[in-house]
């Protein structure tokens, strides 16, 4: 086991233990030992599956991901208000478009975060990603223009390095 993979093993043990303790709320020896056995078993299975790596646990994102989440929550609230307005105004207020947009992310993780963020904000859905082009379906042309403005793209790109 190299140093790199033991870092991900330790973080997996810490995360799983926190989930167990946070959900159980009992601190007697019997239940805590059950927790330890479960955590070790899951870590063993994860190693057998070879999913203990930077893809399942993007530790390199560090604290930056929290700042991104805060910003994304603000965007989600704003676009929700737009969509709710359109729902109550009726089908005449929407004018759906499909557009292909360039994305600047290099890594699979960056592309996934960007694609999922676009889908999570109501009003835009990622239909497909191929190489560095993504196909987006939007309820109106405004949301496409907002994505073309590239603020979300830049913020996800910054998470990568």
């Amino acid at each position: 086991m190299t140093i790199k993979s033991s870092r991900y093993t330790i973080s997996l043990i810490v995360v799983l233990s926190l989930i167990w303790i946070g959900n159980s709320g009992f601190y007697n020896a019997m239940l805590l030992s059950f927790g330890a056995v479960s955590v070790l078993f899951v870590v063993f299975v994860a190693h057998r599956l070879e999913i203990v790596d930077e893809e399942s646990q993007p530790l390199q994102l560090g604290r930056r991901i929290f700042a991104f989440w805060m910003w994304l929550l603000k965007e989600i609230v704003q676009s929700n208000i737009q969509v709710i307005k359109r729902i109550w105004l009726g089908p005449k207020s929407i004018s759906p478009v499909v557009m292909q947009l360039k994305m600047s992310q290099q890594t699979d993780m960056g592309k996934t975060i960007y694609g999922n963020s676009v889908t999570l904000t109501p009003g835009t859905v990622t239909l497909d990603i191929e190489d560095d082009v993504m196909t987006v379906y939007a309820l109106s042309y405004d949301s496409i223009q907002y994505l073309q403005g590239g603020e979300m793209d830049r913020r996800v790109k910054r998470l990568e390095d």
Partner: protein, 125 residues
Amino acid sequence: MAIFLDVVSWALLILGGFMCFSGAVGIHRFPDFFSRMHAAGVTDTLGSSLILIGLMLQTGWQATVLVKLALIFLFILLTSPTASHALAKAALHGGLRPKLGKPEVSDEIPEKFGKPRSESVNNQL
């Protein structure tokens, strides 16, 4: 203080309920599969988050309940875009095409999704 928390929490719960209701109305009002997915997205994101935050204020700061509600919140935000994307992709593979408001400004759907079904070829809204 308890009354203040109650008022805030009920305001959040009612607002969240209204969001979920709007999402449901949108599913009925919007014209095709793809636009209905957006209406469902309102329920997924703002509706569920407001209700969960409202419920968190009702727990009396019990750590285990707060952790569970926070985990539910996190899992909804991580899984719902994945599900939406899978739904949209499956619909495209099945030959369904979105009805477009302005076909002249839209790009083509990639060819790998195959031929559209005959009833969705004329896709003007």
